[in-house]
Symmetry: C2
Subunit: 247 residues, 2 copies
């Protein structure tokens, strides 16, 4: 089986991406990056997901991006909460991490050279996500060109490919595909600001998109959210359709 490197954060999108790579017949080498993110509990989930979905190997690279700063995900800046769909759809939010996907794909490329893989998978998405420039197709295409110039394997005639199978899927489509491929979303965590016990906040952009996705897909949401008054945000992006389970 050809080998592929899959960037695995432990969230919904990257878990689905790993399942897609497996489904396409790749022997999967999963790479997680501990970049000092607030939501480090994701990394524990990544290990569980990698094992459950049959990755050949799972490595975690430590990279302290807090030394560079500049993002609500790594610095002491508030994570936006309870934003409306309209607010989420405009501009680049505080959770943007400068040059994140350039750095993550760079690490994936190095790992790929080491294990002899030429296929890099990333869970980038242009529809649901909030205007991150490094989730766009033109960025991914430019990285692919770069990869072939940057490496010993590229110089020696190998052709690297960057796969972003979720790029144009809605969150609901991603969830349906993941369910079909056997992803257990109860193992994943998408929240930008989980509580100390690792439970999703239910209010950040990522939680809202995830909740809306399960509702729209008509799939029971296995995520454990806080309960009680105020637990669900007024700006909740897509109200569940009548009859959909949101437990």
């Amino acid at each position: 089986m050809p080998r592929a490197v899959v960037l695995l954060s432990g969230g919904l999108d990257s878990a689905t991406t790993l399942a897609v790579a497996k489904g396409q017949g790749f022997d999967v080498y999963a790479l997680s990056v501990d970049y000092g993110q607030r939501h480090r509990v994701e990394l524990d989930r990544a290990a569980v997901v990698a094992k459950a979905l049959g990755a050949a190997e799972h490595r975690t690279v430590r990279l302290d991006l807090r030394a560079v700063g500049g993002s609500a995900l790594t610095a002491d800046v508030a994570v936006p909460k309870d934003r409306s769909a309209d607010q989420m759809g405009h501009g680049i939010p505080a959770t943007y991490v400068p040059a994140r996907n350039t750095i993550l794909l760079g690490l994936a490329l190095g790992y790929a050279e080491v294990v002899g893989a030429f296929d890099l998978f990333i869970g980038a998405n242009v529809l649901d996500y909030s205007g991150y420039p490094d989730c766009r197709p033109e960025f991914l295409s430019a990285f692919e060109k770069l990869a072939n110039l940057a490496t010993k394997a590229g110089v020696e005639g190998g052709r690297f490919r960057v796969h972003a199978p979720l790029l144009k899927m809605t969150k609901a489509e991603i969830i349906r595909e993941g369910v079909r491929l056997g992803v257990d979303y109860g193992q994943t965590l998408s929240c930008y600001d989980p509580d100390p016990a690792g439970r999703a906040c239910g209010h950040c952009d990522s939680c809202q998109l995830r909740r809306g996705g399960f509702a729209e897909a008509g799939v029971p949401d296995p995520t454990e959210y806080p309960t009680g008054p105020g637990a669900y945000a007024p700006g909740y992006m897509r109200p569940p359709p009548p009859g959909a389970k949101t437990s």
Copy 2:
């Protein structure tokens, strides 16, 4: 003054690159990466160099590339010693770090966004260096294109530039330029395999190129090498011309 980010390893080339950026009128933000290299003592030299050359700021990012492996600089693989000029000039050596400059420039790009810089300086060199694919002009050009697609600052209309002022200079030319700009090469360390006291081995490719450069430039070499029998390699690249100091 416009700001620039300079990748600073603590070696001869990056110190000169910092001096060139200052000489071109940039306010310099120096970035070092502790990537688990054997020659970590470089990082102490980087701090000294940054201060001596008047950098506005110097940050060090920790990134443990040993988790990825694949290089004599990060893994338990022998650093090649005493290779002839002919051996050095062919192929990509064991000291190649997979995707290193992609990762380093990615980190520099993130730091640049944080401090509002659009100019990235890297000490890449095509002549003296040993066939690293990510030191080639076509790689640097591809990274520049990527940077403008990857970032919030690029999307908002900024134009990133990648500067490699040493790209086509010989080691001797680099040393002459650095001396002119006031670099104290006694502060720098180029060795891939220094001893525990931080002294250069004198035998690895990098030491040989450095020694040859000082000899060719006719500049006294301030590097402290081991002394005694076998201290100088038989494959020493460019023998010093008669009369040149090599102390």
